[in-house]
């Protein structure tokens, strides 16, 4: 009774709130389904946030969270004073941007191509083959690449030798690695990401295509005017989310593919590998937390900014 009364009252004064509450009440069963995920996010993503205090402390094990001395922004010094700060920031953002763009183009293309195949058997076969690399760990992939790029016994150098060309010491040639890393990234993730786009495509009403065919639209016109527009919202959302992580490099990839080869660092050293290398021997939790916090803050700001831009252009596609 009381609840009803309140909601009735607020109905008059704050319509949206009551509406939202009613919306929640009407979809209670569905909301409950989300509860396990909400609990997990709370436990694993919100509770640990408390740990950011470490970034501002000279953390000592025996004194713990509360007993350790506050040191202000001292833990951030090593990162911002570093001569490599510009290099690793450029590599992280640059390579991730390349990955996002190429990944988007390739995954959408794969999804479009799969959509054109009508034989279920072939669709499943191609999907399986393309998704498979996603399940390999970077450690394994690192060794596979080593088999290709090894100076002496590598497949590529073997091929070059056979063709009478000069061999390259791949692990000392930084200029070649942005391309190699991009290919590796596409190979590993494009198949997996295309599944999402493929699923979105399956949801398009067939009548659009029928109508287009009757109107005499070519395949290219159908893709350009029907399929792609349907994919735009999901492309935008996934891209916004990816941009949120642009400051966070895939450690496994950059560490294991390059085999920690110093001469490659000018193009392959990213924030995560840099932090790992600098603090591996020092083992300072405060300093590594400081960098983690910095990455998160920048990522958060980037998501907000991207979303703002998207909302300006096309409010329908914005995340929030």
């Amino acid at each position: 009774m009381r609840v009803l009364a309140i909601s009735k009252k607020s109905n008059i004064q704050h319509k949206p709130v009551a509406k939202r509450f009613k919306h929640f009440r009407d979809n209670l069963e569905l909301s409950l389904l989300a509860l396990p995920a909400i609990i997990l996010v709370f436990i694993f993503s919100y509770l640990p946030m408390f740990g950011v205090v470490i970034a501002f402390k000279d953390f000592r094990y025996d004194k713990g969270f509360f007993g350790s001395k506050w040191v202000g922004f001292k833990n951030f010094e090593f990162f911002f004073q570093s001569q490599d700060a510009w290099r690793i920031t450029r590599n992280t953002i640059g390579l991730n941007a390349i990955f996002i763009v190429t990944g988007l183009i390739v995954s959408v293309s794969i999804a479009l191509m799969l959509y054109e195949i009508t034989n279920r058997f072939f669709v499943k076969t191609y999907q399986t083959i393309m998704i498979f690399p996603h399940f390999l760990s970077w450690v394994v992939v690192g060794y596979m690449f080593f088999a290709f790029f090894n100076v002496e016994h590598g497949l590529i150098n073997g091929l070059l030798k056979m063709l009478g060309r000069e061999v390259t010491n791949w692990y000392t040639e930084p200029a070649k690695w942005p391309a190699i890393l991009t290919i590796a990234n596409i190979w590993k993730s494009a198949g997996w990401n295309s599944v999402i786009y493929y699923a979105a495509l399956m949801g398009i009403d067939q009548e659009y295509f029928e109508a287009a065919t009757i109107d005499g639209a070519s395949k290219f016109q159908v893709i350009k005017n029907i399929t792609i527009p349907f994919l735009v919202p999901i492309m935008t959302i996934l891209t916004i989310l990816a941009i949120g992580g642009i400051f966070r490099a895939d450690f496994g990839m950059f560490y294991y593919l390059t085999r920690e080869s110093g001469p490659l660092f000018p193009t392959t050293d990213v924030i995560d590998t840099y932090v790992y290398r600098s603090l591996r021997t020092l083992g300072d939790i405060g300093m590594s937390s400081a960098v983690g916090l910095y990455q998160s803050v920048v990522g958060f700001v980037l998501v907000l900014v991207t979303n703002l831009i998207v909302r300006k252009i096309d409010p329908e596609s914005a995340l929030f």
């Binding site: 009774m1 000592r60 080869s261 110093g262």
Partner: protein, 496 residues
Amino acid sequence: MKRKKSRFTFKMAKTVVLFAVFISTALLFSGCGNNNKEANSNDKSVELTWYFMNNPQADQDEVFEQANNIISQKLPGVKVNFSPLDPGSYDQRMNVMIASREVFDICFTSSWVNNYHNNVVKGAFLPLDDLLAQYAPKLKESVPDKIWDGTRVGGKIYGVVNYQISSSASAYWVKKDLVDKYHFDISSVKNWYDIEPFLQTVKENEPGIIPLVTTQMWVPAANNMGLYTLDVPYTVFRENDPTLTIENALETAEYKQYLKKVREWYQKGYVRSDVMNVTDNEADLRAGKFAVGTEGTIKPGMEMERKAKYGYDCVIIPLSQPMLTTGSIVATLNAISSTSQNPEKAMQFLELVNTDKELYNLLSFGIEGKHYEKVSDTHIKVMENTKYSASNWMLGSPFNSYLLEGQADDTWEATKKMNEEAKPSPLLGFSFDMDPVKSKIAQIDSVVSEMAKALETGAVDPDQYLPQFIEKMKLAGADEVRAEIQKQINEWKTTK
């Protein structure tokens, strides 16, 4: 009807929220719960947890059970939970356990894995002076004071030394069959580079064998040239310099010469061409694929130890005088965690494992008749394909152990003598407090890991890369760090 339904769901929502809160708090508390468990154990029975490095062994449970039988006789009520962790992940796992304040009692620590000084500075270990005096007088006495002094940080002992060879010295090991085959005169090798003719012979005549494991061995090479290194990379002082002036190793003539030679060796194929990307040589060592390698310690009987491990004979060529340094002393220690609930019992146990031959031999070699056979009263032979083996130099003092077949009877006496005769480093007992320049050290570590390997394996041209390395080290703050080290050394000298 509608009203009824809505009331029901509201109630339900409340229940669910309550339930969620209950679950998360339960999870929270179960996470913390572990900490309190051991505090309740009464004095009569105590379980100690000991983390150390060893690959899991097939028969380890049986050995540990027997070990506990011995322990229960000598230390009634104490049970030790032996927890070997595999060497590859030991560093990381200890790091996580210590950082998360897990309750345990003893762990292996050293200058090269699970870093002793870093852990002490962060408060991970208990100071042991009082515990040693009160609960382990025999242990305290069995190790010379100058060795204990090497473990002191800020004047206090934080780790129990596994007393063994305490000096470090650089040496080459050379595969014996090749030395004999080519009649190589090992006495001709005095200088680091004197090995070159032999490398050349091997390269020319032994197609299946790589002459040198790696050329990345600046530290032993430096020792050979009379330069001694400190913990901070590329800071050295000269052997005969009474003023203890810290120099930048990168700018010494020795380092330039070393890089030049190493580059030459790389180009001539004395090391494998992918040496820069290889992290683990153990399998190739066992297969006998290398002719020459380096050692950082020389000790009596080491030829036999190498043979037991790799299966072939080798010759040791000493390249520098044994020296006692802080680093060589803290190479193997067991420390008591500051989370330990029973530090006194842990100390008593450490004394037992360092003084009781029966217990120590059991942990070292396994069970007699099953894992090893006695050849004489003092010598044993490890069974082929034994299902238990351990790196016993991390578990206590090897002076209490049996000798391996073929090792001289006086191996331990000779080792002790070597310790006594070893020249103490002018910096023995000095440990650098990194705190004032921590952020610079982090940057230096990063530069070193970028530049050093490619240069010192000879994979890149030193004329082009060495100036870059020097420049980057300067930018990272190497000069300031060196000044700080010098300052602390000068202060330390006045207190000595």
